[in-house]
Chain length 299, copies 2
């Protein structure tokens, strides 16, 4: 299987064997071509397939798993919307199959990562579980009674659940979305706005907070409060057995998970308290999920 | 079918024929017997069955649909928790079947009302829909990809989704739950707290707000804001096609629905905008849902 994960900056592509072992991985900048970006991306997928054919001449891929960001309708195979990559209603699955002549499965990058966690990772013990990926933004995938729930591509947008209607303006146009407060990107941005400092990542905000920096402590604490509140919303609405958290912010480990669990436990009462656990598959979870879905197509 | 809806004040019982037509309806106070309340309720169900046997001697009920409030595990047939009626982990389904010798289905009052709306009412056109019942409290039932999602009895507790962690203390022990701000009960209570007046219902608060009363306007507006925020949470997390609202507050009609739709539409951006529509079955939706579930048992 070939899995291709299209991000805002890079495209990652990997070749997997039947057992789910990664044979090769390549990374290439995401082409930017205005309103033709979607087509450029599909041609780039074909280039990547050819590169793998050269590097691994003995491996004949049988299916493609293509993942893109934004609003994605998995079932229809359509990229509904990416404001960042400037496409709307692109029939990615059909166009890719026509160009590459391989069965193609099409999904959202975070949902594919969630699927890998659900089938092989930290979410595997649960039938009702939410997988959150917290990085530049925040997105989630929902598994309800053992099945992924996509809501036509609109479900699991926990980064755009509104925490505070008077909060910061979000790139999506709403105010006070969770990811304007609690994403790794927001944590850096909010610290920089308050202090004028320039940082390289949320890791530095956490280090400053641990060293007693007042602004860093406030920003980190507000992020935890917002995340905890969103998890209580999930608990009241969906009652998942667990919330699995991956992405860059989860690298903070127990410095994230311990105070987050405390906050959620304090806020909830009779609700089903979800376990809050780190993702286990790592940064290539999306690619692995894409490969699993591609394998489903041909097995 | 006999459907019995156990409320905090009254038990409503109804006899339905195979086509779902209600043949008879009776109402009796909910017995209060401390820790034995659950058993008293089950004996009351048997009494109600005998009453129907006397009144409708030609009708032989084939199944019972029993509905109770609180946390209810439909699948296991267990009343997990009712702080109001003082029970925990009562195997209602089993006990009722042993006493009454009729197949019994067991569910939550609001979920049964939701099921009636989903199968026969305003939620029927949708596969992904949330039915909210707003009265003394607020509860919801979730239908996801055409199936009810109960989360072991803990899902759909939208009245206990936290809107403001610094908000009013809720009966459940949390702070700022939606129903402390936006239930019909809360609307009356909050107006009374601010003014010292005594009212008979939320309807009066709405009338006062329309007449320009400042406190009533504020209380009504805060309730709408909180409801709108909860609906945006549903949109971001679950992306339902529609939110159907029933219960006493929905009697306000367009005075509720018009400003609520406006607020939700203003708050959301790219999210899937749910239709917000009134329930259509009325106050006996719970009984009808119980009867439908009972009929499923024997057909």
């Amino acid at each position: 299987m070939i899995a291709v994960d299209v991000g805002g900056t890079d495209i990652k592509a990997a070749l997997f064997d039947e057992s789910g072992r990664m044979l090769g991985l390549s990374r290439t900048p995401t082409p930017r071509n205005g309103e033709l970006t979607a087509l450029s991306v599909i041609y780039r997928v074909e280039e990547l397939r050819l590169q793998f054919a050269v590097t691994f001449p003995a491996v004949l891929p049988r299916a493609v798993g293509l993942l893109v960001p934004g609003v994605v309708d998995d079932d229809a195979g359509i990229g509904v919307l990416s404001t960042n990559l400037q496409w709307a209603n692109v029939p990615f699955k059909q166009l890719t199959e026509e160009l590459i002549h391989l069965p193609t499965t099409f999904s959202h990058d975070v949902r594919a990562a969630g699927e890998a966690e659900f089938r092989l990772g930290a979410a595997r013990p649960f039938r009702n579980v939410v997988v959150l990926v917290i990085g530049t933004g925040i997105a989630g995938s929902l598994f309800i009674d053992g099945h992924a729930h996509t809501g036509g591509g609109y479900a699991g947008e926990i980064g755009h659940a509104i925490i505070d209607p008077a909060g910061p303006l979000c790139g999506c146009g709403s105010r006070g979305c969770l990811e304007t407060i609690a994403s790794a990107g927001a944590i850096v941005r909010r610290y920089e706005q308050r202090t004028g400092a320039r940082l390289r990542g949320a890791r530095e905000v956490l280090a400053l907070a641990e060293a007693g920096d007042v602004a860093a402590t406030a920003v980190w604490s507000e992020a935890l409060d917002a995340l905890a509140l969103s998890i209580t919303q999930l608990a009241a609405i969906l009652a998942p057995e667990a919330v699995v958290i991956g992405g860059g912010l989860a690298q903070a480990g127990e410095k994230l998970f311990v105070p987050l669990r405390e906050r959620v436990s304090t806020l909830l009462s009779f609700h089903r308290q979800p376990l809050i656990v780190p993702a286990s598959i790592g940064e290539n979870a999306g690619l692995l999920g894409g490969a699993l879905r591609a394998r489903d197509l041909v097995s």
